[in-house]
C-alpha cells in the first residue's frame, strides 16, 4: 500500500514538473537554427569570435535568408550551411538542438 502511494506521488510530481517547466522549452526549430546561423554570420563580419573561419569579409553581410540552408538534422545536432555567391564560398555551422553553436568551418567535417 505504502509503495503504491509513493509510486503515485512520484509519478504525479514528475508529470507536474513537465507541465511547469515546459519539457521542450530549449528545443529550437530548423527555422530558428537558420536564424542563429544568420546572426552568427553577421557577428563574424564584425569580429573574430575564435572559430576556424576567423573574421568574415564584408561580402558575407549581404547574405539573404535563402542562402542559409539546413544541411542536416541528426544525432541531436543541426548542421546549417551558408553560401556566399560573391566569392563562391560555403561555411557550415554545427549546433545543438537548443541552438548552441559548437563548430563552424568551411569543410563540413565535424
Amino acid at each position: 500500500m505504502k509503495n503504491l502511494i509513493v509510486m503515485l506521488f512520484v509519478g504525479l510530481m514528475l508529470n507536474t514538473g513537465i507541465a511547469f517547466a515546459h519539457g521542450d522549452h530549449k528545443m529550437i526549430s530548423a527555422k530558428d537554427a537558420i536564424q542563429v546561423a544568420i546572426k552568427v554570420t553577421q557577428k563574424l563580419t564584425f569580429k573574430d569570435l575564435g572559430y576556424k573561419v576567423g573574421k568574415l569579409d564584408e561580402s558575407w553581410k549581404a547574405l539573404t535568408t535563402e542562402e542559409f540552408k539546413l544541411y542536416a538534422a541528426q544525432d541531436n545536432r543541426y548542421k546549417v550551411s551558408a553560401f556566399n555567391k560573391d566569392n563562391n564560398k560555403v561555411i557550415y555551422f554545427l549546433m545543438t538542438m537548443s541552438g548552441e553553436l559548437l563548430q563552424l568551418n568551411s569543410e563540413a567535417k565535424f
Binding site: 507541465a19 536564424q35 544568420i38 546572426k39 553577421q42 557577428k43 564584425f46 569580429k47
Partner: protein, 184 residues
C-alpha cells in the same frame, strides 16, 4: 491520551480499503483530466475544446500573439532581423533607442569590437517631460543577449558609455516589433 491517538490511527488504517483507494485514484485521474482539458491545454497550447479556457481568460496570451502575427501591415512594426553598428566615442556616452508601442517585443544581441562598455538598457514613456525612465538592465560588458517587452509606449534602448581612450564600435542585432530606431 497517546493510547487514544494510536487507536485512532489504527482505525484510519483499517478503514482505508483497496476499493476506496481505487476510488480515490480514479477520482484524482478524472480531476487531472478535467484540469488538463479546461486549464492547461487552453493556457499552454491554445487548445480549448470546451470553451472554458476562453471564458476563464486563459487563452488571452495566445490570442494576443495571433493578433500580432496576422496584422503586421496595420502597424509600422517590423519582424525581420536588422544589424546596426554604433560607434561610441572615447570618454563619451551614446543613446540608441527604439520607438515601441506597449507590449511590443524586441529580441537583441550586441557585441563590441573590443573594450567593455557601461550600459543602461531602459525605457522612457512617450510624452513624458519629467525625465522619468525605467531601467531593465545595468552592467558593464562587451556583449549581451536577451529580449524585453515594452511595459509602456515610448522609446526603449541602450545608453552606452565608453570610459576608455579609444572609440568602441558596437554591433547590435535586433529582431522584433518597433516603429523606428536611431541615435538619440
Amino acid at each position: 491520551m497517546q493510547q487514544t491517538n494510536t487507536q485512532a490511527v489504527n482505525t484510519q488504517e483499517v478503514t482505508l480499503t483497496n476499493s476506496k483507494l481505487l476510488k480515490y485514484t480514479i477520482f484524482s485521474f478524472v480531476f487531472a483530466v478535467i484540469t488538463l482539458i479546461t486549464v492547461i491545454l487552453p493556457a499552454e497550447y491554445n487548445i480549448d475544446p470546451t470553451g472554458m479556457g476562453n471564458k476563464l481568460g486563459l487563452t488571452v496570451f495566445n490570442n494576443a500573439q495571433a493578433t500580432t502575427s496576422t496584422e503586421p501591415s496595420t502597424t509600422t512594426s517590423k519582424a525581420t532581423t536588422e544589424t546596426i553598428e554604433v560607434v561610441v566615442p572615447a570618454g563619451r556616452g551614446v543613446e540608441y533607442k527604439f520607438t515601441m508601442e506597449q507590449y511590443q517585443k524586441l529580441t537583441y544581441e550586441w557585441i563590441t569590437d573590443g573594450s567593455v562598455l557601461y550600459f543602461d538598457l531602459h525605457g522612457e514613456p512617450k510624452g513624458d517631460t519629467t525625465g522619468y525612465f525605467e531601467s531593465y538592465a545595468i552592467a558593464t560588458s562587451d556583449e549581451m543577449k536577451g529580449s524585453f517587452t515594452a511595459p509602456f509606449e515610448g522609446s526603449h534602448g541602450w545608453y552606452w558609455k565608453n570610459t576608455s581612450d579609444a572609440p568602441v564600435k558596437v554591433q547590435l542585432i535586433v529582431n522584433g516589433e518597433y516603429v523606428e530606431h536611431g541615435l538619440k
